[in-house]
Symmetry: C2
Subunit: 134 residues, 2 copies
């Protein structure tokens, strides 16, 4: 079962190549970090803080493309962890069906906070068990 | 009339906030620079050099989203210049129609070099005249 989680913290350090975001269980206490790139972390931070931009930034463009093609973002799911790499999928509703698109968690979460209202974020129970057991 | 152009040069300097890409006329000599962000410049550089990534980067994801929704990128057009800011549109074919999506030139060009084969890049004659006359 996918577990509803939320973005609880973003730690950006320009000294490091990798930044850290934390997801936290909405109906519980489990939390874990994901390492992501500076660009994606900055995009997520801007959106969470509500900073606007005069021109569409890359994740705004993604939302616009989906809308222009008649789709609608549904939610994002972090569904696997292999060799210390998390995998996510974007779930998009189009023509009455749900289409799943492979994504890095960083882009998935950036999209989730760019959409209004923000998209639900889920993490598969297996992934959460694996990361909490480490 | 839109003029066919190609990416002729990318200048990346980590000291500066803005990077420079040059477009050059395919059937002529006109060329001009566009200032873009470091992330977008790095993405364009990686694609032009053929560097691959184990996971989809943001512009790979954009191509995947369009394909998953049954669309196909057609070309990109830089169609306006206002207050020293260039405007572009992505032209996507879907259901037999061409849909135009507003974009920054940096994302448009990153998408153009991420698609295989690369998408044609056009610049509106008016924009080219304006920038050459400056």
């Amino acid at each position: 079962m996918p577990v509803p989680m939320e973005l609880s913290r973003i730690i950006i350090s320009e000294i490091n190549d990798k930044q850290i975001i934390y997801l936290k269980e909405i109906d519980g206490e489990r939390t874990f970090p994901i390492l992501i790139g500076l660009f994606e972390a900055t995009m997520i931070h801007r959106r969470v803080k509500g900073f606007s931009s005069p021109r569409p930034l890359t994740h705004d463009l993604i939302c616009q493309i989906v809308e222009s093609l008649g789709g609608e973002f549904h939610d994002v799911v972090i569904n696997d962890l292999k060799d210390h790499t998390y995998y996510a999928k974007l779930r998009v509703r189009a023509d009455g069906e749900i289409i799943e698109i492979d994504s890095r968690p960083s882009d998935a979460i950036a999209i989730s906070v760019t959409c209004e209202p923000h998209l639900p974020i889920y993490v598969e129970e297996d992934v959460l068990n694996e990361v909490m057991g480490e």
